[in-house]
């Protein structure tokens, strides 16, 4: 599913070279629920950006669904993000001027899916996160938890190979966190592959596999 081999990412900050990722190796198999945990500045975000094809690695090999990514063009990366990856962000990242429904619809628009099919799939996705009633609301009219559920629906709607969640509960209270994690558990049970990045141990515990990241290096947590 996901195969990272000797991935490195180096940032130049002033005169100093910072190894955000230092020869990282990672394997994620289909239908897995993997938590990646680490403190801030550990290289979490860099890892997430590379897995999510938002950024490319400086060295190493990244295969998604058996296809090497590193020499993809801008356009191909956009297509991969669109079709294979569903993003869930810490700050939801919904488009403020669009209703919940339209936000969920957007990736399908970019896929050039037909209108009737789009509406059906948007309806399904919103149903799965329990937000059918709020479909016409703007993000500003929704609570944090509801916004995050819209974001999850948007990630689901393309039926991606991988759902990539970056601190999905970072801006939520503990009660809503539990709700959101429940949705992720359900999605996992339905057979989705999930990679969840967090700094919260409790959230990480939900994963079937936990990986620590520190100073750009990964270590598997044995349970």
């Amino acid at each position: 599913m996901i195969e990272l081999r000797e991935i490195s990412k180096v940032y130049q900050i002033g005169d100093e070279r910072v190894h955000a990722l230092n020869h990282v190796n990672l394997h994620v198999y289909p239908h897995e629920f993997v938590s990646i945990i680490g403190p801030s500045g550990s290289g979490k975000s860099s890892l997430m950006n590379i897995i999510g094809c938002l950024d490319t690695a400086d060295a190493g090999l990244y295969c998604l669904d058996g296809v090497p990514i590193e020499d993809y063009s801008e356009k191909q990366l956009a297509k991969v993000r669109n079709e294979k990856i569903g993003f869930v962000f810490q700050n939801f990242n919904l488009i403020a001027k669009m209703s919940a429904e339209e936000n969920v619809e957007l990736p399908l628009v970019y896929q050039k899916v037909k209108r009737a099919e789009r509406q059906k799939r948007v309806k399904d996705a919103l149903e799965r996160v329990g937000l059918t009633k709020r479909a016409k609301h703007l993000p500003t009219e929704l609570s944090g938890g509801q916004q995050q559920r819209v974001a999850i629906a948007r990630a689901l709607v393309t039926r991606p190979s991988l759902i990539l969640a970056d601190e999905p509960t970072g801006n939520l209270d503990s009660h809503t966190t539990e709700d959101i994690m429940q949705i992720f558990r359900e999605l996992h049970e339905q057979g989705n592959t999930i990679v969840l990045i967090t700094h919260d141990n409790e959230v990480a515990e939900q994963g079937k596999r936990i990986i620590h990241i520190r100073d750009g290096k990964l270590t598997e947590v044995q349970r």
Binding site: L54, E74, N82, N93, I95, Y110
Partner: protein, 396 residues
């Protein structure tokens, strides 16, 4: 495409005041362009119509040196018979005289001519008759006066039978011309004028003799102006020892041509100025689009993260600029339509018709579209080039 059009409409709608202010440049530019060019072409049409309605088949011949072989009235009659391309010829001579009616005086322009003059110049009688052959042969003292002379000197239009004296010679009024409607004769109708037999003018004025110094020619309907002009020129060259400087043949076409070149230069000039204001409007659009792109950096990041590629983003912002321009263009055209309607009402007394000029509307639409593309391309490209991670983490 349709989707990005809707998105563009939406994001313009989200910020109506700003959109309106941005469009103002384009609106004013388009309105200026359409109104100015339409006004000029409207004025041109009515002036050209006026010129060509009276003098389309008229040639004016001036003789400056007769080489001892002067043209006489008989020659004109002979030529009209001989030449197929000519339908009429009439001598023209004029003199400025003092006209007197009762105790009132006025300065008159006296034209001495023959009956054909009436047809050739396209004059119109309100009352009475024009000159006839007998008048010319017997040098009778009859005159036809214009409307202004009748009203101002005699006091009423129905003055056939009244007697006027020109430089002391008494003339009987036999006809009154109608008040002219076309623009060219309006120019000369400010003066009082009278038409008398050529032979009578010879007695009245010392400078007018039986040797003609000028005459007018009308082309027959089956010959073109150029053919007639050529035939007359050839005829006169033969007569005046091949000397082209001895005479000149002028047609009203020259006047028409000059007029239309003046107005087309005017159109281009005014259109150019309005075009510049359109370009300025385009720069305004570019400015606002740049602001919009910066403001929406995060949105661009989100869109890219969920799968929009460069082309999609480019199209979205380009579409927004073009839609903004086209909306402005539409409003501008509507505005100019209103202005022209108002102008038509105000200027209706001048007998000018102002209508929306279709060509200039088309030109402004195409021009606005191009401005939208040209000035939208840079901001749109700036948006499209953003890296997803940078855009996503912009300002938070």
């Amino acid at each position: 495409m349709i989707m990005s059009f809707r998105m563009a409409l939406r994001s313009i709608g989200a910020n109506k005041l700003r959109a309106m202010l941005t469009m103002l440049g384009i609106i004013i530019g388009v309105a200026a362009l359409v109104v100015l060019v339409s006004l000029v072409s409207g004025a041109t049409t009515s002036v050209t119509d006026a010129v060509s309605s009276i003098a389309n088949d008229l040639l004016t011949v001036t003789i400056s040196d007769d080489k001892g072989n002067p043209v006489r009235l008989d020659d004109l009659d002979k030529w009209v018979q001989e030449m197929k391309t000519v339908s009429g010829m009439a001598p023209t001579a004029s003199a400025s005289v003092t006209g007197k009616y009762g105790a009132d005086n006025a300065t008159f322009t006296l034209y001495g001519t023959t009956p054909s003059y009436y047809e050739i110049e396209g004059l119109q009688l309100a009352l009475g008759r024009f000159l006839n052959r007998a008048d010319v042969e017997n040098n009778t003292r009859v005159c036809i006066i214009n409307n202004r002379a009748a009203v101002n000197l005699i006091g009423y239009v129905d003055c056939v039978g009244q007697e006027l004296s020109f430089n002391g010679m008494k003339f009987t009024v036999v006809g009154v011309l109608s008040e002219s409607e076309n623009m060219v004769s309006t120019m000369s109708s400010g003066r009082m004028s009278a038409y008398i037999p050529y032979t009578s003018l010879m007695r009245l004025s010392s400078t007018v003799t039986e040797d003609l110094t000028g005459f007018v020619v009308s082309s027959s309907s089956n010959a073109s102006m150029d053919e007639t002009e050529e035939a007359i020129t050839k005829l006169l060259k033969d007569r005046f020892e091949e000397d082209e400087d001895a005479f000149s043949v002028d047609s009203m076409n020259i006047m028409e041509g000059a007029m239309s070149s003046i107005t087309s230069i005017l159109s281009i000039l005014l259109g150019g100025i309005a075009g510049i204001s359109l370009v300025v409007g385009g720069i305004g659009i570019m400015n606002i689009m740049l602001v919009t792109v910066t403001e929406r950096t995060r949105e661009i990041g989100i869109r890219k993260a969920i799968g929009a590629n460069r082309g999609t983003i480019l199209l979205q912002f380009l579409m927004e600029a073009v839609v903004l321009c086209m909306l402005g263009c539409g409003i501008g055209i509507f505005l100019s339509w209103v202005i022209l309607k108002v102008a038509a009402v105000v200027a209706s007394s001048l007998s000018m018709r102002f209508t929306l000029n279709g060509t200039v509307v088309l030109i402004s639409v195409v021009f606005c579209f191009l401005i939208g593309i040209v000035f939208g391309l840079y901001p749109a490209n700036k948006a499209a080039k953003m890296k997803p991670i940078d855009a996503l983490h912009y300002g938070g």
